[in-house]
Subunit: 222 residues, 2 copies
Amino acid sequence: MHLIQKDFGKWLNNFTEEQLKMVMDNQVKLSYNKGEIISKQGGFASHIIFLSEGLIKIYKEHNDKNLILKLVKPGEFIGLSSLFSKSTFDYSAACIDDSKVYSINIETLKTLVKSNPDFAEKIIWLMNQNTSQYFERIMSLTQKQLHGRIADAILHLSREIFESTSFNMLLTRRDLAEFCGMSTESAIRILKEFHNDKIVNIDGKMMEVISFPLLERLSEVG
Amino acid sequence: MHLIQKDFGKWLNNFTEEQLKMVMDNQVKLSYNKGEIISKQGGFASHIIFLSEGLIKIYKEHNDKNLILKLVKPGEFIGLSSLFSKSTFDYSAACIDDSKVYSINIETLKTLVKSNPDFAEKIIWLMNQNTSQYFERIMSLTQKQLHGRIADAILHLSREIFESTSFNMLLTRRDLAEFCGMSTESAIRILKEFHNDKIVNIDGKMMEVISFPLLERLSEVG
DNA sequence: GAAATTTTATGAGATACCTCAAATTTAGGT
DNA sequence: ACCTAAATTTGAGGTATCTCATAAAATTTC
């Protein structure tokens, strides 16, 4: 009880004792290793996942090329888009880093949404945050060229995901390419270019942003 | 009262008299002409719109190029993504055809969502439908080349929007291009190609699908 | 109903990006 | 520690797509 309240924190406000017990009784904590797949596109969506530790990629498979739709960091839910609609996932989820998650029965969450308007509001708010993020991604991926897209990705990693100027990005070059909708070779070339131009400092997967203004400019001009 | 119940139909189930009255008192019906802008990116999101008649495009502006995120047909809501989150629209909406809409105060809708769990469920369901559609769009726009994207667009128009093999697509070539994330010239060239290859029959804005299998094949291979 | 604007159309040239190939480095498994 | 597989890197060549220019057709405006 203690642990889950600490992690879920803000999501469990205003729950009655009965509702809290319901969450407790219908949830398990799971650990995944880097590289492991949590859910597979087309698979049965019986649970919603809450990420407690680690980093996860949500991606779609198309022929043999993948596109990473979203990076999920601790504190976020995965699978909300299956609430009240599809019974199958329309995307896959895999761990970029060792991860710990709570897996919550989807029926439980449905019941909670229907019995607790404040929780429903929070879920709707979360889903709208996601949608807004997807709009940004669509614009980046479709309207900008390679440099702008990589700039967007670096800004996202620095500000949203790792919340630091300097971080281990964990993503492989291929992950980054799949996040930016480009070939791995292009991603590599542009990273090197940014490094040479002293926009970022890159050593393997370690990344340090040197100039946010330049990244923002690249993002802006596309 | 009669009119709105006919239009909103399925959305007003399970409402109490009081709630129905609340909808009635906080809603106006508006008419727009083809080409008119309903809401502008960055504008204040004070209302949710329910499309009763016509066709509307939801689009984002980037530098001087637009991208049409979604086509909205009668029976759908616009602006749900502002419920419980942003107070400004992060996209614009404009009429592709003469349209009639109900404009509903956003606070009213919030109240209803919080007081009627069934309605909340429906809203969540709707938002998830949208998200699912956006995933499809991201895949089409980022993973497929021109022919696949135009094929996707035609299939969408035929099946989702007009629900007919033969229809007046209303969109200009430029709209179609902005829906497919390509230059107007490319859209025109590929439409002509499809016409010459007898995949569709095109005369101005009139469009007749001749071979769904071929379109699906083009969509599949990308 | 004529003028002005927008839309549609087509060609040629430019270029951003991908694909393929081959080498080197790094990571993973036993 | 070794072997294998995966990830990273770089170059060269090809191509899908865009841009620009120009013109005809269609639509809107007054």
